[in-house]
Amino acid sequence: MCGATEGGLSLDGIDVKKEAIVQGRVERAGDPVGNAYVRLLDRTGEFTAEVPTSASGHFRFFAGDGEWTLRTLAPKADPVDKKVIASVGSVAEVVVSI
């Protein structure tokens, strides 16, 4: 339950048992996109959080149990929405292709 998938973000120092983690990577044709913005929308579509991607294209949220939508914005790309299910004690890994 607590290991990220290969190539995912390190979970060192995070108490995974207490968090509902949603994390992943933004890619364009397989290459990481380091200047994208990923927004976490709740089940009603309301904004909950937003992070810029790291140089390696990674992002992470600490959500709650339930269904969420990731909306990804990046230069010269249309927004991409992707649904994800989060639950406390697990890590949902998502790859977003723009």
């Binding site: 968090e19 976490l40 937003e50 810029p52 600490f62």
Partner: protein
């Protein structure tokens, strides 16, 4: 105040990059963002070290603020343009902070760092140098800052606008979802506060919605603009964004930001707390 006096566009900023009387200042939640690239000529303020007292939970005092701006090369008659990540949360916080200490000409870059990046505009890692100044601040303008006792007394009396996400307001989350959720304070909201998430005032690219859209937003949410208003969130930065909208864009007369916000209120002993999606009773 109006939109023309308090907001500038990315285009305006590009046209004023060489103007020595325009000081661009980046303020981010992620205090390393500036170091990875910033708008040419922009200086950095670190909200955790430059703007907070390092011992007590409070702001730097008037003398410390004067010393800070003097050292960074900001003059009293400069036009200060603030921008940052997170849809300008911390830039709006710094805007409110500059107003608190009486800086006259301060503006926000509409859309902040995100809009600038999504437009593929230039960022640089070159550090600017500005000559030191002798900055004079005013005493804090307490008409725009609320404290905890005033917030408790405002229950059922004034407008309380809680601008956190619906899940934080209801008590299902304790922090924005890009932060770990384990926190010391109780979950929920101040009874009778209405929930108008800050994000409803902004477009996806971080720019502010139009005045007509903003008026409709707060009108439909039940904000009575004949009453005084206190905005709050978790630590006072998102509520600065809404303070900016209500006070600077829509021109409401009496709007205060409660910078103690939920991390203070949710830790107080003996105060009322409401949980769930409804405002609750006084």
């Amino acid at each position: 105040m109006t939109r023309e006096n308090s907001l500038v566009t990315a285009q305006w900023v590009e046209e004023h990059l060489a103007d020595p009387k325009v000081v661009l200042i980046e303020v981010d939640e992620d205090t390393t963002a500036y170091d990875k690239g910033h708008i040419r000529g922009a200086i950095k303020l670190d909200w955790t070290t430059d703007l907070q007292d390092q011992v007590r939970r409070d702001f730097v005092d008037k003398q410390q603020f004067e010393a800070l701006l003097s050292e960074r090369g900001v003059a009293n008659d400069d036009t200060v343009v603030l921008y940052g990540g997170n849809n300008n949360w911390f830039a709006a916080y710094a805007y409110w902070y500059f107003k608190l200490y009486g800086h006259q000409d301060v503006k926000l870059l509409d859309g902040g760092r995100k809009k600038w990046e999504l437009d593929s505009r230039e960022l640089t890692d070159e550090l600017p140098s500005r000559a030191g100044t002798s900055y004079t601040a005013q005493e804090q303008d307490r008409s725009i800052r609320a404290f905890r006792d005033e917030t408790v007394e405002a229950i059922g009396v004034k407008n309380l606008v809680d601008v956190r996400s619906p899940d934080e307001y209801a008590g299902r989350l304790l922090a924005p979802a890009h932060l770990p959720q384990e926190q010391a304070q109780r979950a929920g909201h101040v009874p009778t506060s209405i929930n108008v998430p800050w994000s409803k005032a902004a477009n996806d690219d971080g720019t502010f919605k139009s005045d007509d859209e903003l008026k409709a937003l707060y009108g439909e949410a039940g904000l009575d603009d004949s009453k005084e208003t206190i905005a709050l969130c978790r630590i006072g930065e998102r509520s600065s964004h809404t303070w900016f909208v209500l006070k600077e864009l829509l021109g409401h007369q009496s709007v205060k930001n409660y910078d103690g916000s939920w991390t203070e209120y949710g830790s107080l002993v003996g105060v009322p707390v409401a949980v769930g999606d409804e405002p609750g009773e006084a």
